[in-house]
């Protein structure tokens, strides 16, 4: 064996990892259009050479080498798919967000470091951004308040009905998201059951005062949009809460009670801290999709309750203003990522999964 051969075959994991990274970068650069003309051919050649090198390493190396290469082989198809259709699009979007249109009817904008799109996104659509994050935050808190008792009861008092109760929580997933939201339109409509119930209970005055109702209407109010978000993402809160509550050893609570704490003390000092991973995962699973949603605002809201999702959708698919839509998407993603990181720090979890 030559010197090079021994070096490669004695570090097969580096070959596997290296080839995977080379292929991923190659796929992204081809997909996102970093390379054109002659550089594209070079990129393809580099990818081909690395694959040949990988096959050669596997061929000359023994069973051990092939075993070390196996995980990278299993990962490659999926990772390359995600590189091409998740990473490359993000790059395209970043590039588009810095492009400019020559005229209103220019539908293939060119890259010009146009930071004006971001300025427009933040000034013209400031209210939409703040509504998105505000509504999503309130909906997250509401799902926590509604979901915690439910998850708690299923985990600690469900007994043999646990599986059935958990199945019931998952049932809303089996009806279409849009149809569920349309059903809320039915429920909250002016002639619907909720409004007439509130009227019989003479609660409309209180609700008007709390700005939940507006001129005797529930639909087209911010409360309706937040209610829709809360409803649609509630199962995403309950399931992780249940998972973390179910793991708690109930004897810990007994131990705390034996040490003369009250039931609420045991909850605050034992159960709640141990369920925080579930609270963390659940609030991410609710907040992220809620902040980007536009269906609830579309079906249950009015023009004065539009969220940033509505604006992105409108700019992209109706106005065909791709640069502005991309800038808004990018701001949305950046703010969400930043708040997730801050939240992770605050909750003291490094474990995002």
């Amino acid at each position: 064996m030559t010197h090079a051969q021994t070096r490669f075959t004695s570090r097969p994991e580096w070959v596997g990892l290296g080839v995977m990274v080379v292929l991923a970068v190659g796929v992204v650069s081809l997909g996102a259009g970093w390379v054109t003309g002659i550089t594209r051919i070079i990129a393809l050649a580099v990818m081909l050479v690395s694959v040949v090198g990988l096959v050669w390493t596997a061929f000359v190396g023994g069973l051990e080498t092939r075993r070390a290469l196996a995980p990278y082989g299993l990962l490659k198809p999926g990772i390359l798919w995600l590189s091409l259709f998740f990473l490359a699009p993000l790059w395209s979007m970043l590039q588009m967000s810095l492009s400019s249109k020559k005229s209103r009817f220019d539908f293939s904008p060119s890259f010009t470091w146009e930071f004006g799109n971001y300025a427009t996104a933040l000034t013209d659509f400031g209210p939409q951004f703040s509504r998105s994050f505000g509504y999503a935050a309130i909906a997250t808190i509401l799902t926590l308040l509604i979901g915690y008792p439910l998850a708690y009861v299923i985990a600690f008092r469900g007994g043999k009905y646990r599986t059935i109760l958990l199945g019931l929580v998952a049932v809303p997933f089996f009806t279409s998201y849009l149809i569920r939201t349309l059903a809320w339109q039915n429920l909250l409509a002016d002639s619907g059951p909720v409004v007439s119930l509130l009227n019989t209970l003479r609660l409309e005055g209180v609700l008007e005062f709390l700005h939940i109702m507006d001129n005797g209407r529930l639909v087209n109010t911010p409360a309706a949009v937040i209610g829709g978000l809360t409803y649609n993402f509630l199962p995403f809160m309950i399931l992780p809460l249940y998972v973390s509550l179910e793991k708690i050893d109930i004897r810990l609570v007994d131990a705390a009670m034996d040490l003369y704490t009250t039931a609420s003390g045991a909850f605050r000092r034992v159960v709640l801290p141990l369920s925080l991973p579930g609270v963390f995962a659940g609030s991410l699973l609710v907040f992220i999709p809620a902040a980007g949603d536009f269906v609830n605002a579309q079906f249950l809201g009015s023009p004065s309750t539009t969220m940033v999702g509505n604006s992105i959708q409108n700019q992209f698919l109706r106005e065909l203003n791709y640069p502005l839509a991309s800038a808004m998407s990018f701001v949305l993603m950046t703010v969400i990522t930043a708040s997730v990181l801050v939240y992770a720090k605050f909750m003291g979890t490094d474990d995002l999964v």
Binding site: I154, G167, V171, N186, S326, L332, M333
Partner: protein, 277 residues
């Protein structure tokens, strides 16, 4: 004193229980509306006000061709995307749970990213890529988009399911003379198959119900959610509620069936263990 605490505790228990019941009622209120209004006899174009009971809609569930066609499109998209995503996702989950290797942390992080990005970002960025590369949007781009978010989903859920898998079983099979391939297909695969099927089923449901990502990448293709969205401004026939109820009951039946099979298997295994004793 202790009895006062006892009543306080009892009241607290009741309160939490009733909060849980109210939570369940909240979860089911719109679903009850969907099923109930599938029996409505609406006047006009919108199925919003209760007018009277009828079985007509259930007798002719497919009488609205736009909705039926859209549902068939959705089933085709979901079927194709789920098969591809399940294969890709299962390979990733196997790599992550079976091997220790350099870069597994980065791969884990990379897998979660699509799940923690808002759908509108995934959808609009993918559409930007297709625009920039001049790819016409339609059936294929929707399938590509669905595979993208399903791969992550399948990989992450399946990895969680097979976390505690005993890989020495495979080693045992090989010690008994099985080739690695035979050991995998005869020992490992049957054991992880239920997990794969569960992940595939859930990702199928995600695909059928996906609206936001599909909306950006569909071009002129109309899937079921897109049809519902378009119709919501024009006319909503009660057949929509019938189709939704059928999907609902069908999925519940699949879920209950799966649970029954699993519990029977467990009971069988338990019985065998007892018999051996």
């Amino acid at each position: 004193m202790s009895s006062a605490m006892g009543t306080r505790q009892k009241v607290g228990r009741r309160l939490i229980n009733s909060a849980a019941v109210l939570g369940l009622v909240y979860l089911f209120a719109p679903i009850a509306v969907i099923v109930l209004f599938s029996f409505n006899r609406p006047k006009g174009k919108f199925n919003i006000v209760w007018q009277g009971f009828t079985l007509d809609n259930w007798a002719h569930p497919f009488s609205e061709p736009e909705f039926t066609d859209a549902l068939l499109v959705s089933l085709r998209v979901a079927g194709l995307a789920t098969i591809c995503a399940t294969i890709l996702g299962t390979l990733i989950a196997l790599a992550l749970s079976r091997y220790r290797f350099k870069g597994s942390g980065a791969v884990n992080l990379f897998l979660v990213l699509p799940l923690t990005s808002p759908e509108i970002v995934l959808g609009s960025s993918l559409a930007t890529l297709f625009l920039a590369r001049g790819v016409e949007r339609g059936f294929l781009t929707v399938v590509i988009a669905h595979i993208m978010f399903q791969v992550s989903f399948v990989a992450v859920t399946l990895r969680a399911r097979i976390r505690g898998f005993d890989w020495t079983l495979e080693q045992a099979a090989m010690d008994l003379g099985a080739t690695p391939q035979r050991a995998f297909w005869k020992v490992t695969f049957p054991l992880i198959l239920p997990g794969i099927l569960a992940a595939a089923l859930l990702s199928f449901a995600l695909s059928i119900d996906d609206f936001i990502i599909t909306f950006f990448n569909a071009g002129s293709l109309v899937t079921f959610p897109l049809q519902v969205f378009g119709a919501s401004r024009v006319a909503i026939p009660p057949q929509l509620n019938v189709l939704a109820s059928m999907l609902l009951f069908g999925s519940i039946a699949i879920m209950v069936g799966g649970l029954i099979i699993e519990s029977r298997k467990q009971r069988l295994a338990h019985g065998k263990k007892l018999a051996r004793r």
